[in-house]
């Protein structure tokens, strides 16, 4: 069958099972947009290409499938860059398709020509420049395969305009042949034996659960392993949801704003089992004093993560689901009662300090609000966040029982992520309740996507935690710069009127009494809804491990009388 390159693009996307594409047209991808009209795939017209990238990212995280975003050449493609880097840092499978000027014009600074494969080389798992229609199908086939296999990640395909309009015979390739791409799934028996004997001798083991557990669908295996060996589980920011927060072995989040008892457990542990996490500086604090007494086992699909930040005793390179399944029958049942009791002591101490025990003082605290939303939604909503203080409070207080419902920019910490990723998630889970929690700063970065939500009827509830500050930066200035506030005080628009101008129902909430009612109202109102919460301006996220400090050197919330 002879097809135009632009048609081949859609034929391939259809065969990959793509239901929705987020994008923006322009000169260099017009043939693709023209061909689109003949295919049933739904296209979401965004207001800025960054929004398309985050939507595809949110869609991928909520569905476990590959997200797709499109843009034209030059400025269209460069507008995607922040979103591509965000997906890269969090290993999210997204295929980006950009238009490029005609092949014969490349290198001549043609109108809207940009070296997009060059720009995105370090922030994609792989990328392609396609100059001929004949090469489109293979590139797309490979791109989807690479994006979702091994350690997932974004792949970009830059398609020249001539390749979109030229015709060729369309054959959809079978399994791609990539001689240099062979993700390792299983770890060698000898190393599994080493891991088992380390566990045998451990008295104070801790599992560190990362995003990899969710990416590999290994929640079931994690549970079996943790229960069989009675090993407590601490999560990274992105690993939250892989292990139920209510489980007695759960330690919640570790790291800079992790639970004190999680960090204490790590620092006092004699064996760390890292499952699909990469020892980011935000979870280790200074490496000099990190888990000093612990032997380390690292289960990780990407061999370049092994020994990268922390030298480990037993590296188990492979797919977590496979490797942990292999390990479960090899390990004995243990009870670590003494160790779990010691941890319980730290947990009790944290309880006395918790903001949840504070008396009402008429002010709105984000932590309370998140707990209120958690209660109202039964803890079952898909929650996306922006980046900042509200993000950390959401991580701490929206206690997750299940995976693929927690969508936040961890590795890149990209402000502006919250709203578009929620819209993307809605396309993956239209029957589920979806909340986007954003700060006043980050919301304004991609606020234009509100009208996208309206155009699509996206049923997302947007909670803006308005402290009129770039709160997280303000907190650092308070703690580490002698409270010299620099460029953090922010005038915000009237968010209720702003929403109104978009045709989005909205309410402002200033007291705790109004909260429950507002949340219920938002939940019962179909389509996008904005709640603006006027929150305490100078609250801080606790505990906090200052950057570069040891993990146990936490600034704790002062205990109020």
């Amino acid at each position: 069958m002879k097809l135009k390159g632009a048609e081949i693009v859609w034929e391939c996307l259809t065969r990959e099972g793509v239901e929705v594409v987020f994008g923006y047209p322009g000169g260099a991808n017009m043939p693709i947009y023209d061909a689109m009209l003949n295919y049933p795939i739904h296209h979401v017209l965004v207001r800025h290409e960054q929004g398309a990238a985050h939507m595809a990212d949110g869609y991928a995280r909520a569905s476990g499938k590959v997200g797709v975003a499109m843009a034209t050449s030059g400025p269209g493609a460069t507008n995607l860059v922040t979103g591509i880097a965000t997906a890269m840092m969090d290993s999210v499978p997204v295929v980006f398709i950009t238009g490029q000027v005609a092949a014969h014009l490349i290198g001549g600074d043609a109108f809207q020509e940009t070296d997009v494969t060059g720009i995105t080389l370090p922030i994609t798992k792989h990328n392609y420049l396609v100059t001929r229609a004949e090469d489109i199908a293979e590139a797309i086939r490979e791109a989807f395969y690479i994006a979702r296999s091994g350690r997932p990640g974004p792949v970009l395909i830059d398609i020249c305009k001539n390749a979109q309009v030229e015709s060729c015979e369309f054959v959809y390739p079978d399994e791609p042949e990539l001689p240099g791409y062979k993700p390792v799934m299983r770890s060698p028996k000898a190393l599994l034996d080493d891991a088992v004997s380390l566990l045998e001798n451990a008295k104070r083991p801790v599992i560190l659960c990362g995003h990899g557990v969710i990416m590999s669908n290994a929640e079931e295996e994690l549970m079996q392993f943790a229960v069989k060996t009675q090993t407590p589980v601490a999560s990274t920011l992105l690993g939250l949801g892989a292990f139920p927060a209510s489980h007695s072995l759960s330690l919640g989040m570790m790291g800079m704003h992790g639970e004190a008892y999680a960090n204490n457990a790590i620092q006092n542990s004699d064996l760390i089992l890292a499952f699909g996490m990469r020892f980011d500086d935000r979870v280790t604090g200074t490496l000099k004093t990190y888990a000093p007494k612990a032997k380390k086992i690292h289960i990780e699909i990407d061999p370049s993560e092994v020994h990268k930040n922390v030298f480990v005793d037993v590296p188990l390179v492979g797919d977590i689901k496979t490797v942990v399944s292999d390990l479960i029958p090899m390990v004995d049942e243990y009870d670590h009662d003494e160790w779990l009791e010691e941890i319980q002591g730290w947990k009790n101490d944290a309880d006395t300090r918790s903001i949840m025990n504070w008396k009402e003082d008429g002010k709105l605290y984000v932590a309370h609000l998140i707990a209120d939303i958690w209660k109202a939604t039964g803890g079952g909503a898909i929650v996306t966040t922006d980046v900042g203080q509200h993000q950390m409070w959401t991580a701490q207080y929206y206690q997750l029982e299940k995976p693929n419902r927690w969508i936040t920019s961890g590795g890149a910490g990209t402000m502006g992520f919250g709203l578009p990723s929620a819209i993307g998630a809605w396309f993956a889970a239209k029957d589920q309740e979806i909340w986007a929690v954003a700060g006043d700063g980050g919301f304004q970065m991609t606020a234009a996507e509100l009208t996208t939500a309206v155009q699509e009827g996206a049923n997302v509830k947007i909670a803006i935690m308005n402290n009129n500050f770039l709160g997280m930066v303000r907190q650092w200035q308070e703690f580490f710069f002698e409270k010299r506030y620099s460029a953090v005080n922010m005038v915000t628009p009237d968010f209720v009127k702003l929403a109104d101008a978009h045709g989005v129902p909205a309410r402002r909430v200033t007291t705790r009494e109004e909260v429950a009612d507002a949340i219920e109202w938002a939940r019962n109102t179909q389509g996008p809804v904005v709640l603006e919460f006027k929150v305490e301006r100078e609250d801080a996220v606790y505990p906090m491990v200052p950057a570069g400090a040891a993990l146990h050197e936490m600034i704790r919330r002062p205990v109020k009388a």
Binding site: G180, Y181, P188, L191, D302, S304, H307, P315
Partner: protein, 186 residues
């Protein structure tokens, strides 16, 4: 210390920039990099010399990162294997006809060749190890080097020796026995 890696890569546009971008991004220090064709038209071969201040740990990182590139097929570390290592230099020396014999003599000692003779200059071609070439350069310098070009190091292991491959299973063409590979992990 300098480590030498041999990487087989798919012969596709942009592969060299992928490799060099990776080394820059990960802060590895390339001392020398040479690329060329192989007996297989689909495969190119790189010899990469990298400064590895942390020894084997760095070597491990470099191999692992190279495999992150989809187009990299195989990586071996030949630093500690018996191997043949060569660099080629063309050195243009400004020399009056009276002193040409002196250059000739030096070339003989180093088994280098004079490949071009002009009225007041010659081009010396020398092939050999890094040390040998450095030695020759030192002696030619006082006479007057005006131009020089070096290809960068290329290496090949001797006989049936293979280099070290630290990435268990990344290369299915060569490793079926995973237990054997396990012993190689540092």
């Amino acid at each position: 210390m300098n480590y030498t890696f041999i990487a087989l890569v798919e012969n596709k546009p942009g592969v060299l920039s992928r490799v060099s971008s990776l080394f820059r991004r990960r802060n590895f220090n390339i001392e020398s990099l040479a690329v060329g064709r192989t007996q297989d038209p689909d495969v190119s071969r790189m010899t990469i010399v990298v400064d590895c201040p942390n020894g084997d740990i760095d070597a491990h990182k470099i191999e692992a990162n190279l495999y992150k590139l989809v187009n990299v097929i195989d990586v071996q570390d030949v630093t500690h294997q018996p191997n043949v290592t060569r660099d080629l230099a063309l050195i243009k020396v400004l020399v009056a006809p009276e002193r040409r014999a002196e250059v000739n003599g030096l070339a003989d000692i180093f088994r280098a060749r004079i490949v071009d003779v002009a009225p007041d200059s010659v081009i010396v071609e020398i092939t050999g190890t890094e040390d040998k070439i450095e030695g020759m350069i030192e002696l030619l310098r006082p006479i007057g080097i005006v131009e020089m070009v070096r290809t960068g190091q290329v290496s090949m292991t001797r006989g049936v020796h293979d280099g070290v491959r630290r990435m268990p299973g990344m290369n299915e063409r060569r490793y079926d026995n995973m237990t054997e590979v396990a012993a190689m992990v540092p």
